[in-house]
Symmetry: C2
Subunit: 214 residues, 2 copies
């Protein structure tokens, strides 16, 4: 029932590049953070495709998939930051008809709306009562598995600052973005204490997992 932040990050600390748009929701260069995942067979399978490579990167993704029972994300991540959310309350975000989560997802927002049941087991539930309420609902829906903060950076920071995160797993891509959204900013005067839990290295990415003190 751990709460985990698990996200790809550039060596200079960004989880998205500068100037995100509908065409480029991860910002300029942001796709490069995820090339290691796109190349992995477990990622391709999760997204309904075949192909990709087996190996340690694919194993790390599969391990994550197996451990997570529910996710939490911010409104911008749901709607890609520039989506039709504010104009059209029925907008489905940018995740398509069959999002890759395949489990309950809780979206932090200030705009109440009905839950959305998607194909393939993903449900979007919209939470207006704040991060602790979202965590409570996600834990109840996770079937005893872990809860994952899917992003973006601001939401991850809120949970880290509140001392609610148990595990921080950053996949450090060998990339310098030079701008964008930094994961580990705005953590206040007393950032949480970390302990190295595990390191898995491949030519494409370094998976650094830390335990986070409450």
């Amino acid at each position: 029932m751990a709460l985990t932040v698990d996200i790809s990050i550039s060596l200079d600390g960004y989880v998205a590049g500068p100037d995100p748009s509908l065409e480029d929701p991860l910002g300029v260069g942001g796709e490069r953070l995820h090339e290691w995942a796109f190349a992995a067979s477990s990622w391709q399978e999760r997204h309904g495709h075949e192909g990709g490579e087996a190996g340690s990167d694919s194993d790390v993704i599969q391990e994550h998939v197996d451990a997570i029972g529910a996710s939490i994300m911010g409104r911008k991540m749901y709607s890609s930051g520039t989506g039709p959310w504010e104009d059209d309350p029925k907008a489905r975000g940018w995740w398509g008809d069959e999002p890759p989560f395949h489990h309950p997802v809780f979206v932090l927002t200030h705009h109440a709306r009905e839950p959305l049941e998607m194909e393939g087991g993903t449900t979007f539930t919209f939470v207006t009562e704040g991060i602790e309420a979202a965590l409570e609902q996600a834990r109840a829906a996770a079937g005893g598995k872990d809860v994952h903060i899917a992003g973006g950076a601001e939401v991850s920071q809120q949970y880290l600052s509140a001392g609610l995160v148990d595990t921080l797993h950053v996949h450090v891509a060998p990339v310098l973005l030079g701008g964008g959204a930094r994961l580990l900013d705005n953590l206040g005067d007393s950032p949480p204490a970390l302990t190295v839990d595990r390191v898995v290295a491949s030519p494409a990415v370094t998976h650094l997992r830390y335990r986070v003190a409450a």
Copy 2:
């Protein structure tokens, strides 16, 4: 004859904490970045002490020591940023009578002064003609070994931006500083491309070594 940046860094990207002072030259919390090194026998030996632990962290330091024939540093690192440099041209910085380099060190500065020969093989040579001149002098003095950018962040950034660095070796401490001097900022619109070269992990720190494209 490679040029390397080799430095301890927090997971949030800082090489020094906020508010550096004479008493606290690494800034608030900055010493925590180097605890892994202080604990290593090769670091203690380099600094004229006994004790410390053998192991992979100590081996990484020894490997660095063996490979480096000359270092380059900024004026602030020489004088600790708040030292008596401007007032007293004979000031010896904060490195003591026997600095831990034991090889030629080239200090980037706008104030010309005579070289200083210290105990234990360290010489400080002051270079006013810019980063390329300092690199040329350091290469000539390195006896065929590598040249190391000892810091601080600004000097490392200047060499990285200029495309002069061959190897970037960051020792990621499991620490969040929340402020201070970031290593990988100000690299311009086209930050250099990186390739993962080697990862060494221990419970105290993760050593990430990258090749840097020119």
